[in-house]
Structure formats: C-alpha cells, structure tokens
Symmetry: C2
Subunit: 423 residues, 2 copies
C-alpha cells in the first residue's frame, strides 16, 4: 500500500484526532535528557520514532549514505534527494504497519526506538541556510496596503505580476517554545518630529507556512515548475514575528530589516510534500495570467486548516483569534521558488521560504494582529474584559495546522512563542 | 616592534607598490593544482604564505585549537576571537621579519610554505553565513534618490537616523574572477503597460567594502560600539552587482530581491581590522546627532583609496571610471553592526556586511554606472569611440583598494568579474 493510503494502520495506537497517524510521518530533530545527542526522528501518535536507532539496528538502510540520522539537523538526509525521501518514507511506513512484525515484535528495539513525545525535547529540525519571506496572500497584502497607503494604492502595481519577497534573517529562526524578547528599535510615530529608541509598542505575529528546500540549484540556473517542486522537502508552521512600529519607520526604500530580524519561529515537525499530496487544491484564479516562467499546470496549493490561539498571563485558557487556510494563497510555493531562482540565484539545501502572512477573505481569517485589530483601532476581545491590539509581555501565541482526511488528519503540531519583556 | 610598524621589513623582497608588505598580512583561502586541498594563507609580496604548513611544522601554535588553517574557510580561525587574531598576526609578522632566521633559513620549509601567487588559485575566504547590504553613502543615496524620486524627495526621511540596510542573498557571494551571468527578470519600463521577462538591460556594479564579522552575538543581545568593533575581523572589496531595471519594478514595498540575488563578488584577501588601524579617520559630521545607541567616540572611518576599471572586449587596456575613498561613508561599519544587532538580531561568525555603494562628492567619485552615466543619460566615454551607460556582455570590471602609508601600502588586491551573456 502507498504510504498515503487512508486504510493503513500502525501497530502503535493513534487517535483519529492526532496530528501524527501513519499517513503523516513528519521529520524532526530531538534529544532526551538521558541521551542528549541530537538525532532525527519521525512523529507517530504520541511517540517519536528514533531513526538513528533504526539505522544502527540495520532496519533502515539509506542508499549511498550512512549515519544520516545521527545528526543535529535534517540537512544531510535532505541532500540525498527526492528518490531517497520517497524510499525512506515508504520503509518507515512499512516498519510501523500493524501487520509487520519486524519492529513491532522486537520489544527491546521498540523500547529504544520509540520515545514518548513527552520525554523528547524538540530541536530546530534544519540548519537554515537562507531565509526568504514572501508576501503572497492577496487578502493580507490588500489589508496592509489599505492601512499603510489608503484604499486606492492598497495593492502595489507589481503585486499581481511578481511573488513579492525579501531576504529575511536566518540567524534568528528558532524552534517552537523559544521565548521571543520584545525588540527595541527606532520608533517614530507620524506625529513625532524625530525618532526615539525604545521597546517596540506594536509587536505582532504573522501566520505563515514555511517551505523547506531540500535540494540545491546552481548559480546562474533557472528552474522549471517541475524542477522546483521536486526540490521542496516539506512544510512547517512559521510565525514571522514583526515589530510594526519599527517597520513603518525603517522600511523605505529597502524593505523590512530590524522589524523582522529579532525572531522567526517554526514548528519542530516538517511534514513532507509527499504526505500533503492528497490535499492538493487549486489556488485562486490568477488574473492577469502570470508570465510564462511562472505558469503552473497542476494544483499547487494545499488545503491546510490553520488556527491561532492567544493566551495572556491572566487567562486560564487560550482564546482562538484566527481560523484560516493555506489554500487561499495567491502565489503557490512552487511559483515562489521558481521566481526566487529566476535571476540565477542559487538555492541551498536548508533554505527556508516563508509563504507570507496567510489571510482569508473573512475578518476572522486574518493572520496578524495588525489586520485583526485593524491597526489597533478595533482591539480584539479575548473574554473576561481582556483586550489586545498588539502582543503584550507574557502573551503566548500558538499556531496549529492540519489537513483533514477521512478519519485521520495530517497535522503540523504547533509553533508557540511567549513574549519576554524588553531588556 | 608592532606588526604595523612602518620600519618592519620582511625577508621576502616587497616592492613599495605592492599591496602586500609585512605591515598588511591579509588572510585568504587557496589551493594549488599540485595540492588541491583548501587551506588558509597570508599574502606577502608576490607569495602566499601557507599557514597550514607552518602550523604542521610547529612554527605557528594557536591557543586552544589545532588544525585551524587546513580548512576550506577562515571561519574556524575567526571563531577563536580577537585575542587570537592579534597574537597570530604578531607571530606571522615575526616569522617573516628580515632578521628572524626561523623560517628564513629553513630552505625546505620556505619551499613548502611560500607559494608564488601566480601558482595559487584563490577560493572564497569565508563561508558566508548572512549577507547584509547597507546604503550608507550620503552621496550615493542622494544621487539615486534624485533619479528615482526627484530632487525634493531624494533622501528618505529616515536616512539620517538609521544606517539603512537589507538582507542580501548569501548563496551567490563569490570570489573575484568568477564570471557573472547577466540575469533575467521581470522588466517593466514606465512606458510599458505590462512587464515582460527577459535579460536585464541595465546591468550595473556597485563599489563597496565588505566587513567580515568574526565573532557571534546572541539573539536578544544588543551591542555597544566597543563590542561591535571587536567583532570585526577584517575588510574586503565587494561588488554588489545590480540589475537596475529588475530592481525598479520589484523593489516596492519590500526592497531589492532578484535584482541583487544573482551575484556579489568579493576580493580573496581579507585585510584585518588591525592592519587598517594606522589609517583611521573621522567620517563626515553626522547632523542630526545619531540616537545614543549609534553614537561613536572614536574615528571609525578608514582612509582607503578605491579605483574602478572597466575593460570591454574590444579594448586593449582597461579604462579608469571611478576614483573614490571609503572615508566618505556617512555611517561607519561599527554603526552598521550596532544597528544590525539592535533589535536582538543574532550575528554569526562569517556574516558579511556590505558598506553600501561608496560615492564621493565629485562626479568621478561615483561608485556605480547608474550614477556615472546618470541613469544612462550621460554615457561614459571609454576612449576610441567606446561608450557605456550600463555593463554589456564581455565587459570586465575590476575594483582595487589601498591605504597609502609612507613608503608602503596596505592593499586589498582586486575583485574582478566578467559579464557572461544571459542563458
């Protein structure tokens, strides 16, 4: 059976509401207090399957490579290419099947290879080479454009022709659970004569998906749609923390810099492109038609449901503040990657592409506080008298994502970050 | 004697016009056809001194580390920190002194450790982690601003408060001599209704200095002027190749992306911050005074003379098209680095900061074709009827830089790139 077959069952019991059934098998990097070496694992139900242990036991052989899982990142495995990714996923699926005794009936190996997720500390799954952030939701670009430049100039003239993006800062991409310190920066409200330097007052999140590039391309080389697609290893949830007041003053004419440099959080599990195959959908109609190099034949969007919860220090339970879907993106990840390489820009194993904030057509589908509170003019009511226009110290923000199958879900886990006060 | 002492002489004869007297000792990474392993060397006169050979011979001991020079980049050495940099430079200077027999009288070791530069192939000296490009020449920003937005809006309101910069693409930073392929991209002249995709028609260079960061800072940490300065390992020449037509259409609102992603060239030798000490000068008066976090006490600019030569396929000799000086920069490298970390952005060993195009007050001191040909309206006359507004296929562009001492010069060598036709 194909690893995506809905009828597959693992010998480990997995609840239908779990993010990690046998049809998913996302990759991550973890360690345990007892064994602090970083290694690659796959999530299955409430467990992490330790691939380094399986490899050492001879149950998982990787063509042309050894020891690819006893590593602090997925980069070495990703570099082996899409054929190896497919073969490895199929073999892991086989090992976890309810009717395969190889691992199931080896109690000692099960004990060593299956680590309860409660006992595992998740680490950054990849060594990020370049981090690029796009701006590909038409709803988001329009909302922000109205607030920054008025209704008549909301969408820039180039937006419908180019998957607009900028290079972000790779050094501060961190894994879920890493606290985010409120940045300081230059602030100049429109009414002030001169800027001051101090803690950001309009701290925001941006709900995005991250695309993990698993293959390199050469400098001077362009990519076709087919080549680009095969370079995509998988997807994560991504929170592009943003300092709106720093951004407003610094961004002309070279774009966001310190407003986006203090932290970007990703979820620890990389859901493979292959696992998402059953959830492909067509994106919005692109009008005007993209230039030939950006045209795509297949359905290149994915139906991934997304939810954002916010919990302040005084709240007992988090409040949902956004429900949207990855499928709304105007430019697909493949189009973004094709455009990224179009000038001859070399891509590297471990490059991370942020989709851009994912907003939908409805008010509750907006993927940032800036949009949800409409620039702070319509504070969000979180219940019990708690309101928020932007994020305050101690606030914890969590993003979740999942594809809903028939009786199972391909989940992304979550990406969480709590705001620390400025130093 | 201090390694910067003008009276120092090496046992290797060095012409006064050479870039590489004993007072310089810039670091690079090289290989030879006979020995293709990459290793670290120092330029002295017409030779490369092979530090891996010296280390293996026991003449060069690095505290707390072994084998730091038998490496494909300087990153491992840089990571050891400024005290080690100082000590190592002093020891190399000592070994090269005319009155020190240790290396001088060891004919066998000299033969193995001193490689004629003619026989050495220079490689990228560092593994670039992040590449950030600033925009810190007031003359350049004003010239470009006039052309893009008119005289009244030339300098953006934030320019005098912030060392404006953006994240560039690290994957395409290449060493001198690497050909640069003319990029393709979306072009939309103001008169066209819609963009087309094709080869760049306004290909440009940008004369910059690159600052090499040799120490890391933590996420969430700000830097003082003193901390920032100690993190700077050295300087290179940097050519930030630019596609002006792609840039004009893509850069709003998130800044340059593909227009700058196809290639950035650096010179192979990193001149240490220490070697430049005698050439410190004060920069332009900063008015208004920078915010406190950006204020600097010392003279943080450097008097580095810069020259750009252009040679077309039909020319026998290159023509000089620009002569300027690094000292004109409004924002210093230290101010750029302090600002870069001001939001809590982590810096890494191997980060590269471009100064921004270096233009001076005079017309001949402009550091880009865009400015030299005033947007193509005043083509440069290269002699014999050859004219250029922008770069054409087959053009070779060379930048050189040097500090002129009394009877010696601290030179940077050169950074060259030749334009290949678009694919």
């Amino acid at each position: 059976m194909h690893p995506n077959d809905p009828k597959l069952r693992s010998f480990i019991a997995v609840d239908p509401s779990s993010d990690f059934p046998i049809q998913n098998l996302p990759y991550g990097v973890f360690f345990t207090p007892e064994q602090p070496d970083l290694r690659v694992g796959v999530a299955i139900g409430d467990f992490v399957l330790d691939l380094a242990v399986l490899e050492a036991a001879g149950l998982l052989r990787i063509d042309g490579a050894a020891n690819v899982f006893a590593k602090p990142s997925l980069n070495a495995f990703m570099a082996l290419g899409p054929k190896v990714w497919t073969k490895t996923r199929a073999r892991i699926s086989e090992l976890l099947r309810h009717d395969n005794p190889e691992l199931r009936d080896n109690a000692d190996l099960c004990k060593r290879a299956l680590v309860p997720q409660n006992f595992a500390d998740m680490h950054m799954p990849i060594a990020v080479q370049g981090f690029t952030d796009f701006y590909s939701s038409k709803e988001h670009a329009t909302n922000v454009g109205i607030m920054f430049r008025g209704k008549d100039n909301a969408l820039m003239p180039n937006w419908l022709s180019i998957p607009i993006g900028y290079n972000g800062r790779a050094s501060t991409v961190v894994v879920s659970g890493t606290p985010i310190r409120r940045p300081r920066g230059q602030l100049k409200p429109p009414t002030a004569d001169a800027p001051t330097f101090g803690p950001c007052k309009r701290l925001d999140f941006e709900l995005e998906m991250g695309v993990v590039i698993g293959q390199a391309s050469a400098m001077g080389e362009m990519l076709t749609e087919q080549q680009a697609e095969k370079m995509i290893f998988g997807f994560t949830l991504l929170n592009d923390w943003s300092a709106r007041d720093i951004q407003a003053w610094e961004y002309v004419p070279l774009g966001p810099f310190q407003a986006k440099a203090f932290g970007t959080s990703i979820s620890p599990w990389i859901v493979t492109r292959e696992a998402l195959e059953p959830f492909r959908v067509k994106g919005p109609v692109q009008n005007p038609a993209p230039l030939p190099y950006l045209q795509q034949k297949g359905a290149q969007n994915y139906d991934v449901q997304l939810a954002v919860d916010l919990k302040t220090e005084t709240m007992k339970e988090a409040a949902g503040i956004c429900r949207t879907n990855f499928k709304y993106m105007y430019w697909s990840s493949v189009q973004q990657l094709v455009h990224h390489a179009s000038s001859g820009c070399a891509m590297n194993v471990g490059d991370l592409l942020g989709s851009g904030t994912i907003s939908g057509p409805e008010k509750t589908q907006r993927g940032s506080m800036l949009e949800l509170s409409w620039g702070g003019t319509e504070p969000l009511d979180l219940g019990n008298g708690v309101q928020r226009s932007f994020l305050e110290d101690g606030d914890s923000l969590t993003m979740r994502g999942w594809c809903q199958g028939d009786g199972y879900r391909i989940g992304f886990g979550e990406v969480e970050g709590t705001i620390l006060p400025s130093v």
